[in-house]
């Protein structure tokens, strides 16, 4: 079945994904995403009654003791935004 994806659909998805997409890009993506989704629809043909996927290998949940130890240094973590770090924190524009 051919899936129909409009430019508005693309813009909505892009906004959910926090990606800026211009009109020209949206046109192109609408066609490509429609083709991809039509291909994926193939999965509907498979009978998966009672089938479940649990994990790749037999590994179960892994736990460790909660012991405090040194992690990355603040200055290392912040060095990609040196100009916006202050007193070991990152300064950003206000969210609220």
């Amino acid at each position: 079945m051919k899936k129909n994806i409009t430019v508005d659909d693309v813009k909505k998805i892009a906004s959910l994904a926090h990606i800026n997409v211009n009109d020209e890009e949206a046109q192109k993506y609408a066609q490509q995403i429609a083709a991809i989704l039509s291909y994926i629809e193939k999965l509907d043909e498979v009978d998966t009654t009672g089938i479940e996927f649990k994990s790749q290998t037999d590994l179960k949940n892994v736990f460790r003791e909660d012991i405090a130890k040194n992690s990355l240094k603040q200055e290392d973590v912040l060095k990609n935004r040196k100009e916006r770090s202050k007193g070991g924190s990152l300064v950003i524009s206000s969210v609220l």
């Binding site: 693309v10 998805i13 892009a14 906004s15 959910l16 994904a17 926090h18 990606i19 800026n20 997409v21 890009e25 993506y29 490509q32 995403i33 083709a35 991809i36 989704l37 291909y39 994926i40 193939k42 999965l43 509907d44 043909e45 498979v46 998966t48 089938i51 479940e52 996927f53 649990k54 994990s55 790749q56 290998t57 037999d58 590994l59 892994v62 460790r64 990355l72 240094k73 290392d76 973590v77 912040l78 060095k79 990609n80 935004r81 990152l90 950003i92 524009s93 206000s94 969210v95």
Partner: protein, 478 residues
């Protein structure tokens, strides 16, 4: 006589132990080779020249003093540009991470450093692993050194090309749906995607966390087994790593394969497989028969749906993993004062077309109202796929398939049709959702002289059998 850059790891180690080669000369030879080849090939995004030469001199000095050295002492290698190394750039092939300097080391890098291997650079790749040709990289395409009109495969295309031309003796790739095996096949080298959880992924930039694996790309089977002995094992920083013992792969690869059962997957030998590829595979199966193996036909009917299931889950996980690329703490930044605009603009500028496409389809597949139809359905199909493959392994010891249905396409041949490019990965993407190990080894060339790769698929944590089959195949060549 071979130039140092042409040596395998084992040959180089033997020569260094005999005092016939220094690590400095070896590293210098690889760096000179890189300088000569890079204007054409573009396999590297970053070259660590001074540091590598300095480390080589130090190792030579330690060797001359008779100090104990690691198992890969003085061997130059490259990392796919998705592995963090302290104070060095890591781009993941994306503009999003242009200028990013890693604040920590990936475990695989620490393990190799512990054994005195020398990092000479990081290699080009499709952004975040998104691609099978390295044509999507923000840092230019990489060309196949076997024939520069053709792609090297992807996404670890830079690693494949670098190992093939001698830019380092081995490389560490990353495989989410074929990213080690595809370039290994197209460049004529050896690439292993280990069992999920065999090698720590700490410090590897994530694509799809339930598929991602770290593995070696080498010039022969022994080197691959050797590097696997070094990089495997449990890591408290990656909870998915297995506590099971690390086999002595370099010894176990010598095990005889006589009497073993080889499964050939009939669905992977049909329509869409190039004539030359099919013939090379048939010859390989004949060879295994001559080596005393029984050839058994195996059917994996759900593989018809593997690509669809693989992509739905893969891009869903990718859309979630890549949410951290917000331009706030590292990478591309936008100057907007509003926080949300700042993020949206940074991602709009930083991500390329393939990244945007995958993130958007992934977001769609996970969105309210569609998650059952796409994501959960794909997981169920994945369960079916695992059942079929495990059932096949009740009958056979190994599965043998072509790695890719075709040999390396020409540059630009598939770039306008993303779906067509995805379909090329049918035989490799089937493996990652199930977590079993698989290796691509060279098994001939097509009529144009382009390498053909054969995929050896093993049981969970049974890399040893894969190595034994690869070694038996190569040994019978000589």
């Amino acid at each position: 006589m071979k130039q140092p850059y042409e040596l395998t790891i084992k040959e180089a180690i033997d020569l260094m132990n005999d005092g016939k080669l220094t690590s400095y000369d070896l590293v210098k030879s690889c760096l000179d080779r890189i300088e000569g080849m890079e204007p054409t090939i573009n396999a590297f995004t970053y070259i660590s020249k001074e540091k590598a030469l300095q480390q080589a001199s130090q190792i030579d000095e330690r060797r001359s003093k008779g100090e104990p050295l690691g198992r890969l002492a003085g061997i130059p290698y490259s990392l796919k540009d998705v592995y963090n190394t302290y104070e060095e750039p890591t781009t993941a092939g994306s503009k999003m991470l242009d200028g990013y300097i890693s604040p920590y080391n990936a475990t695989v890098y620490e393990k190799l450093t512990q054994e005195d291997a020398i990092l000479i650079g990081k290699t080009n790749c499709d952004p975040f692993g998104f691609g099978s040709s390295t044509e999507n990289s923000a840092y230019g395409i990489t060309r196949n050194p076997v024939n520069t009109e053709h792609v090297p495969g992807g996404s670890s295309g830079g690693s494949g090309a670098a190992v093939a031309y001698g830019g380092g003796l081995f490389s560490i790739g990353e495989d989410t749906g074929g990213s080690i095996r595809c370039p290994a096949a197209f460049c004529g080298i050896y690439g292993l995607k280990p069992t999920y959880g065999r090698v720590s992924r700490y410090g590897a930039i994530a694509y799809a966390s339930s598929y991602d694996t770290v593995g070696p790309m080498t010039k022969d089977v022994y080197d691959n087994a050797l590097v696997m002995e070094v990089i495997s094992g449990i890591d408290e920083k990656d909870a998915t790593t297995s506590p099971s013992d690390i086999p002595q792969y370099t010894e176990e690869m010598m095990t005889t394969i006589k009497g073993k059962k080889v499964g050939y997957v009939k669905e992977f030998m049909g329509e869409g497989v190039d004539k030359d590829v099919k013939e090379a595979l048939e010859k390989a199966l004949e060879k295994y028969k001559a080596l005393g193996c029984e050839i058994v036909e195996v059917s994996l009917p759900s593989t018809e749906y593997a690509i669809a299931a693989y992509y739905v889950i893969g891009i869903s996980e990718a859309s979630s993993n890549l949410a951290r690329m917000d331009g706030m703490r590292f990478g591309v930044e936008d100057s907007a004062s509003n926080w949300k605009e700042k993020i949206i603009n940074a991602r709009g500028k930083g991500f390329g077309a393939e990244e945007k496409r995958r993130i958007m389809v992934g977001t769609y597949a996970l969105s309210a109202g569609y998650a059952d139809k796409y994501y959960h359905k794909a997981q169920a199909v994945r369960g079916l796929l695992k059942q079929e493959i495990l059932k096949a392994f009740e009958k056979v010891d190994i599965l043998v398939t072509p790695t890719m249905p075709v040999t390396a396409p020409k540059i630009g041949e598939n770039t306008d049709d993303p779906l067509k490019m995805w379909l090329m990965d049918a035989f490799t993407v089937t493996i990652n959702p199930v977590g079993v190990p698989a290796m691509s080894i060279p098994c001939g060339t097509d009529s144009q002289g382009l390498p053909i790769g054969m995929q050896l698929i093993g049981k969970h944590f049974d890399e040893s059998t894969i190595f034994a089959f690869a070694n038996a195949f190569d040994s019978s060549k000589e």
